[in-house]
């Protein structure tokens, strides 16, 4: 039976083709909480597709690392082995260079922060990733056997989703005009921990690109754009995606564009970095209900039910530990006027 395809596009760090499973499990677990879905099988309706692109970055890093390792070994091997002092000095300098260029063992900051820098500023990397993501989306869609398709991006993945879709729908390929939204388009684009604006390219600004919600008659890219930014997630603060009257006043007034700002904390004060986690976001009904409504119809989760679920969720998270977690996060919030470099600083601070 045809299903709703949901593409999951990951963010920074190492990910494999199971990265989406914690978030998917959250959606699966909450699905049956709603009257309209009781008795329905989530897996009969949703076809989840993880989209993975960090293999490209890892391939580049490993090849480069191999060359530097060979250089280092040959350099050291050519030295007098009895001159321990000189060997130690050269080794230490090589260690520093190795760390800076990312040729050594990947540490957290390098694997996370450098993903952001590489995608944003190195056009060869970003184009390769955009092409790979486009391929993975088309690979699934080409069967034609689907009801709708939607894309969920997380963190850096929100920038990737934006750029890949913008390019895919603007590219005329050999003998084929660009894809047209009236042919097929994402039902919903959900940008979780949306950093697409702070990482936007000079050539395509997120508020002016093709990636906008609204009616097909206006050639809008998607039916629903769900912009999700946790109020205490510092990574979403620099240059926030927070437009007014976007993409136009009439669409802004509808549910086609929704700015969702959860503030729950389902974490220990010692693990405040989890505020940015994909599954942490999805737990809140304020996040997953708009997505379910976009896929299945808003009428299936009426407002009274939505209110009741929110109230129940909020009541369940009261804890004295949360004040400490909240204070720690508030202390790390950068200014909205900060730029992409603040994201790198925040990544380091969240893990310290």
């Amino acid at each position: 039976m045809a299903k709703h395809i949901v593409f999951f596009v990951h963010g920074m760090g190492k990910h494999d083709d199971k990265w989406h499973e914690p978030g998917l499990e959250v959606l699966r677990n909450v699905f049956g909480d709603y009257d309209a879905f009781r008795g329905a099988n989530f897996d009969d309706l949703i076809d989840p597709v993880p989209v993975v692109y960090d293999n490209l970055i890892e391939t580049w890093r490993q090849k480069m690392s191999a060359d530097f390792t060979a250089f280092r070994a040959a350099l050291i091997g050519g030295m007098d082995p009895s001159d321990i002092s000189k060997l130690g000095s050269v080794n230490r300098q090589l260690d520093k260079i190795e760390g800076w260029i990312g040729a050594g063992e990947s540490d957290f900051v390098w694997s996370h922060a450098m993903d952001v820098v590489l995608y944003r500023f190195f056009s060869l990397v970003s184009m390769a990733i955009d092409v790979s993501v486009s391929r993975q989306i088309l690979e699934k869609l080409k069967s034609g056997s689907f009801l709708t398709w939607s894309v969920l991006g997380h963190s850096l993945g929100t920038s990737v989703v934006h750029n890949a879709l913008n390019s895919l729908y603007g590219t005329g390929l050999e003998g084929q005009p660009p894809l047209n939204v009236s042919e097929t388009r994402p039902r919903a684009i959900m940008m979780v921990a949306n950093v697409s604006r702070v990482l936007q390219r000079e050539s395509v600004k997120v508020f002016e690109s093709r990636v906008q919600p609204g009616p097909l008659s206006a050639k809008r890219m998607c039916g629903f754009y769900l912009n999700v930014r946790h109020r205490l997630d510092p990574i979403t603060y620099p240059m926030p995606f927070n437009p007014d009257l976007w993409p136009d006043a009439s669409t802004f007034a509808t549910s086609a564009y929704q700015h969702i700002q959860p503030s729950h904390l389902h974490l220990n004060p010692d693990e405040i970095f989890k505020v940015h986690d994909f599954d942490h976001y999805l737990k809140n009904p304020r996040v997953h209900v708009p997505f379910f409504r976009a896929l299945f119809g808003a009428s299936l989760i009426p407002d009274p039910e939505f209110t009741a679920v929110r109230t129940q969720f909020d009541a369940a998270v009261q804890s004295s530990n949360l004040d400490l977690a909240r204070k720690r996060l508030e202390a790390k919030l950068p200014a909205p006027s900060a730029n992409w470099q603040a994201i790198i600083d925040v990544i380091k601070k969240l893990r310290s």
């Binding site: 090849k63 091997g77 034609g144």
Partner: protein, 367 residues
């Protein structure tokens, strides 16, 4: 009266087939809306996998088989002809199911018929845009909301027990049934006519990028920046594009095996650290007899930190097929200038040729 009996019989028949798709009388109009939407969107009773009607079962079964990965034009045209037949059958069926609608439903039915005719034209016309996205079921609406079933259901079911409610709900489910079937057919045509060809083009691009990063020469960050800066114009067009035809090489540390000319012992070779100062590696070229042969060249410096002679030697290397590099360099080794011949096959594997004991001793001594 006759319509009421038909609707009642229809509801009974649905119950007989399976309670899952039955629509009992609901408490109020909104409940009817929710019920129809739920059965459509969640249970898939109308035009989807759980639809037991002969029309749906036949068309969904006929749509199912996918064409082989390599399609001929003839095969694509066969799909188009089949799709034309399916749309025709759906149209005939809908005309029968929607005969003599109530006044509340007449505009909806007429819009549906008009859109069905457009869909058939799109399928029949080879280059026409197949507007499958308009046929996606939203919040019990189609065509960007232009056909909204909620309002007429609410009007028909103002009194939940009225005959108009049962007939209205029955008609709504028929609209969804036929709408979903049209959507499935258009998606099939769209996939063969557009998505598959576009997919193949994007695959070709992706394979080139895979080649660039996996098979091409490695790049350090500054080389990536340089080559990216030269490539930036393509990125600014905001289109998917292939990689550059080649790679500039700049201050690239690596290693090679060196053979010193005139040495007596064939075992007297060693690894030498090199830095490719500047160079270019061509990956592809059009219209050249050598187009399938990646070739590159670099000016290099060899680096020796032992006490004898100059620390740097100077030379050049040629890179063949991204795998082999051969070159030569001259360095004053303390007793005069010597030419060394350099070979590199797999620079990563070269690490394994260095004395493991030396490497470990050096590492431990620096801790």
């Amino acid at each position: 009266m006759r319509r009421s009996i038909v609707c009642a019989l229809w509801l009974v028949s649905l119950r007989a087939l399976g309670a899952d798709c039955g629509i009992d009388q609901q408490a109020d109009a909104n409940a009817h809306v929710t019920k129809v939407l739920g059965l459509s969107s969640v249970t898939g009773c109308f035009g989807r996998g759980n639809d037991e009607s002969p029309l749906a079962k036949r068309i969904l079964a006929e749509i199912e088989p996918a064409l082989p990965p390599t399609r001929t034009t003839e095969e694509v045209l066969i799909v188009r002809d089949s799709a034309s037949g399916w749309i025709r059958d759906i149209g005939v069926s809908f005309s029968a199911a929607s005969a003599n609608p109530d006044s509340d439903w007449l505009p909806v039915v007429e819009l549906m018929r008009s859109r069905l005719a457009e869909a058939k034209l799109q399928v029949d016309t080879f280059d026409a845009t197949v507007e499958a996205a308009y046929w996606e079921l939203g919040d019990l609406d189609y065509f960007d909301g232009a056909l909204d079933l909620k309002a007429p259901i609410r009007r028909s079911c103002g009194v939940a027990t009225a005959p108009s409610c049962a007939s209205g709900v029955a008609l709504a489910t028929e609209i969804v049934r036929h709408g979903e079937l049209v959507h499935a057919v258009l998606n099939k045509v769209l996939s063969e006519r557009r998505l598959v060809p576009i997919y193949h083009e994007v695959v070709a691009l992706d394979e080139k990028w895979d080649y660039y990063f996996e098979k091409g020469r490695s790049q350090y960050l500054w080389e990536l920046a340089l080559n990216g800066a030269l490539y930036r114009r393509k990125l600014e067009s905001n289109e998917l594009a292939p990689p550059p035809n080649g790679q500039w090489i700049l201050l690239h540390p690596g290693a090679a095996v060196q053979f010193v000319r005139g040495n007596q012992s064939p075992d007297d070779t060693s690894a030498v650290a090199i830095v490719e100062l500047v160079g270019y590696n061509r990956l592809w070229s059009q219209g050249s007899v050598l187009r399938d042969l990646p070739l590159g060249i670099s000016a290099i410096a060899t680096v020796s930190l032992n006490e004898q002679g100059d620390r740097l030697g100077w030379g050049a290397m040629v890179h063949i097929k991204n795998k082999f590099s051969i070159g030569a360099a001259r360095r004053d080794v303390g007793t005069g200038k010597k030419t060394t011949w350099l070979v590199s096959v797999d620079l990563g594997a070269l690490l394994l040729k260095v004395d493991e004991e030396v490497k470990n001793r050096v590492r431990f001594s620096s801790e």
